[in-house]
Point group: C2
Chain length 431, copies 2
C-alpha cells in the first residue's frame, strides 16, 4: 500500500473514531465551533485569498473555461457568504437528539426513537472552494465526521480553508480528525473500499461519475445523477405565465441540474400557448428543438429520440406535443430523471393528478423548476439534491444528514414472559 493510500485510510479511521465523540457532543459546543470557524476564516482572509489567487493563476494558465474560473474564485463576497452561512447554521435548531417517537411497549417499558448523526460522510465535490466550508458546516452541525474531496483546480484554496476550519474547530473542542481532506483520485479509490469506516458517500458530479461510485463501493451513495426537468403546458394554461416561467427555468442558470430541458405542450395549446412560449425562449437566446407537430407551428430544429433524455445544461430546450395530461406524465416518468417537474395549469384537478403520478423529488405547479434548492426551500444549505427515493429525496440539508436510534428502557423485562402469555404488549403512544 502506498503512503498516500495509508494516509487516506488513516484519515477515514480517524474520522470514524471522532464520529463517536461528535455524536455525543452538545449542541452548544457544535454551534460554538461553527462560530469559531467563521471568525477564523475572517482572521485568515489574506492567506485564503492568496492561495485562491494561485489556484486561479494556474487554472488560467491551463486555459480553463470562464464559468469554471468564476466558480473557483473565492473573494470577499464568497467569504462573507460562507461566514454568514456558518453563523446561520450555528443559530439553527439542533437536528440531533430529537425524540421522534415514544411508545410504552408494556407496563414499565418505554421505547423512544431519537435522531442521531449518520457517522462518517464522504463528500466528493466540484471546484467551488466555498462548497468545502458549506459541506463541512452542515456535517458539523449535524454531528457527522466528514471526509472532503474537492476539485483539483481548487487544491491550494481547499488546503488553506481546511486548515482554518480544522484548527478553529479543534481549538473549540471538536474531536481531532472529525474532518479530513482528501486530495487525489487515488484517495477516492481508498475511500470507496472503506465500508467499515464510512457510512455514506455523497458524490456531486456527472451522471457517469455517480454511477462509477455506485458500481465500486458497498457504501450507500446518495446524490443526483441527471437533472432532466420538464415543464408541461396543460390545456387552458396562462400563456404569459408559461412564457415567463419557461424563460426562467431554462435561462436563469442553464448549467444547474434544476434547469428545464424539455417543454411538453398539450396539443390544444399548439396554436395558442406554444407560439408565445417559443417566441419568449427564442428572444432569450434559447435554441429550440421540436417534434414534428411543434415544427408545424414554430421555427425549430428537428428533435430525435435522444433529445428526450438529453441534459443540455445550456441554452437549448426540446419541445414535444402531447395529447393528454396522462401522455405528459408518462413521458416525464420515462425520460425524466426524477428531479423536478412542473405543470403550468389553471386546473386544480390536473395539478392533483400530476402531483400524484409524477415520480419525482419535486412536483411543481405554476413556478420555475429553479426553486429546487436547499437554500430556497429554507434548509439553510444543502449537501446535494437526491434523485433517489431512499433516505432523502430532493435538496438534502441537516435532516438528510441524520439517522436515528431506538432506545429501550426496562426494568428486567424478558421476551419469554410475552411469548408465554404472562404479559401483554400495550403499545401505548406517548408521543
Amino acid at each position: 500500500m502506498s503512503d498516500r493510500e495509508l494516509s487516506a485510510k488513516a484519515l477515514a479511521l480517524d474520522a470514524k473514531q471522532a464520529s463517536f465523540a461528535l455524536a455525543a457532543s452538545s449542541a452548544a459546543s457544535r454551534a460554538a465551533a461553527l462560530e469559531a470557524i467563521a471568525a477564523a476564516l475572517e482572521a485568515r482572509r489574506e492567506e485564503i485569498f492568496a492561495a485562491n489567487a494561485e489556484d486561479l493563476a494556474t487554472a488560467k494558465a491551463e486555459g480553463i473555461a470562464a464559468p469554471v474560473l468564476k466558480r473557483l474564485k473565492f473573494d470577499e463576497g464568497k467569504l462573507r457568504d460562507v461566514c454568514r452561512g456558518l453563523r446561520d447554521l450555528a443559530a439553527m435548531e439542533d437536528p440531533i437528539g430529537h425524540e421522534q417517537l415514544r411508545t410504552e411497549l408494556a407496563d414499565g417499558m418505554i421505547l423512544s426513537r431519537v435522531s442521531c448523526p449518520i457517522g462518517v460522510v464522504g463528500v466528493i465535490f466540484e471546484s467551488r472552494p466555498d462548497a468545502l466550508v458549506q459541506i463541512a458546516g452542515l456535517c458539523l452541525k449535524s454531528g457527522n465526521a466528514v471526509l472532503l474531496k474537492g476539485g483539483r483546480e481548487a487544491m491550494r484554496s481547499n488546503a488553506v480553508l481546511y486548515d482554518v476550519l480544522r484548527e478553529a474547530s479543534e481549538a473549540a473542542g471538536m474531536p481531532k480528525g472529525w474532518a479530513g481532506l482528501l486530495t487525489t483520485r487515488e484517495d477516492v479509490g481508498v475511500m470507496l473500499k472503506m465500508d467499515g469506516a464510512i457510512d455514506l458517500i455523497i458524490p456531486r458530479g456527472s451522471n457517469a461519475f455517480v454511477r462509477y461510485i455506485m458500481d465500486n463501493s458497498r457504501i450507500p451513495v446518495l446524490g443526483h445523477s441527471d437533472g432532466v426537468c420538464h415543464l408541461y403546458l396543460d390545456k387552458g394554461c396562462d400563456a404569459e405565465m408559461a412564457a415567463r416561467i419557461a424563460v426562467d427555468a431554462k435561462t436563469q442558470y442553464p448549467a444547474a441540474c434544476n434547469a428545464a430541458e424539455t417543454l411538453l405542450v398539450h396539443s390544444e395549446e399548439l396554436h395558442r400557448a406554444l407560439p408565445v412560449v417559443a417566441d419568449a425562449l427564442a428572444k432569450a437566446g434559447v435554441r429550440l428543438i421540436g417534434d414534428e407537430r411543434a415544427a408545424q407551428v414554430i421555427a425549430c430544429e428537428a428533435a430525435t429520440e435522444a433529445d428526450w433524455a438529453a441534459e443540455y445544461l445550456d441554452d437549448v430546450i426540446s419541445i414535444r406535443v402531447v395529447d393528454s395530461l396522462q401522455e405528459a406524465i408518462a413521458h416525464i416518468n420515462r425520460y425524466g430523471s426524477h428531479h423536478t417537474d412542473c405543470i403550468i395549469t389553471a386546473d386544480d384537478e390536473a395539478a392533483k393528478v400530476f402531483f400524484a403520478l409524477v415520480d419525482s423529488a419535486g412536483v411543481y405547479r405554476n413556478c420555475s423548476t429553479r426553486f429546487a434548492d436547499g437554500f430556497r426551500y429554507g434548509f439553510g444549505a444543502e449537501v446535494g439534491i437526491s434523485t433517489g427515493k431512499i433516505h432523502a429525496r430532493g435538496p438534502m440539508g441537516l435532516e438528510g444528514l441524520c439517522s436515528y436510534k431506538y432506545i429501550l428502557c426496562g426494568s428486567g423485562d424478558i421476551v419469554a414472559d410475552f411469548a408465554q402469555g404472562r404479559r401483554e404488549f400495550t403499545h401505548r403512544k406517548l408521543l
Copy 2:
C-alpha cells in the same frame, strides 16, 4: 436472453408500471384489497395446505433439518396469524399522503412535503411461506409494488399463496402486476440489474448473501447483515436481573439475529454478578466461552479473537471482562454489528453515556435484546431489520417503506425575481 430472464424482466417492468397507479390509489381501496386477500386465503385454505404438504414432503425426503421444516409449515395457526396480520394492517393509519412539512417560501408560494411510496421493492426472503403474505401486505398498505423471491423449499406454497393474493387484490381493484413472484436464482440475477425498474432491494439472509447483493447491484440495499448483540453488566448492576435477561436474550430463540452473542462484564462484577449470570446460563444449557479473567472465576472454554465477532446463532455465548464502561462501548462498536446492545445498570449516567456512544440501531437498558422486532415495537410487522443508518434503522415497518416528494405551488413565480432582489424569501413554517 433466456425465457426465464425475459419473464423476470417483464415482471419487474409490470411492477414499475403498476407502481404509478398504486401510488395514486386511495387508502380505502388498498385497505379493502388487504381485507379481500385475507378472505381469499381463508376461502382457499385447503389448496394452500395441500401445496404446503407437498413442500413439506419434499423437504423431509431431502433430509432438511427440523427447525427449517417448522418454519416451512403453513397450517391453521399460521393462516390465522397472517389473516389477522392483514386485517390489522388494513385498519392501521395510512402511511401515504401525510404532509410532513409546509412552508411558505415567499408570498403566494407554498412548499409541502408529502409521504409517498418508494415504488418497486424487491424482497428476497427465507423459507417461511407466511413471510410472503406479510411482506406483500406491508408493501400493499404502503402503496409499493413488490417483487417476491422466496425460498426454494417453499416453492409450491408460495405459488399458491401468490396466486391467491394476486387474484384477490386485482379483483379488488389493485393494478395488474403490482406483485410479482420470482422463483429462481437466475431471477435474482435479473433483478439486481434492473436499477431502472426496482427502487429498493431488501435481502433477508446471511451476511455473505447480503454482501453479494450489495456488490452486484446499483439498487439501494437495506437489511441486516449480522446480529452480534451484546449485554454489558455494568458495575453495581442487579445480578438477578442480569441473569434473567441474559438467559432470555441468549436462549429464548438463539437462531434470531437479536439474540445476544457476547456478555461484557465490568471487572468489579467479576466475583459478584458474573458467577450468578454464568450459573444461570449454564443451567439453561448454554456453552460458555470466556477470556482469561472470566476463566479464573467461572467454568468456561477459552475464547479467541474470533469469538468476539462470532454470531453463534446457537446456545453459545462469549464472555469478556472489561475495566470500564468506555472499554465496553469500544468493544461493542468494534466487534458488534450495530444491531441491538444492552447495558444492565442502576446508574442513570452510565445508561446515558451508553445510549449516546454505542453506534447501534437499538440501545437498551435493563431488558432483553430479543425485544428488537417490528411486532414488539408496535409497527404491526417488519420487512426486515436494518443495521445500516441510511433511510431506516432497526425494525423496518410501513414508515421504512415510504419516501416523500416535495410539492411546490406558485402563481407564476420565477427565480430571477429573487436572484435580482425584487422579491425575498419568507420561509414561514406553516406546519
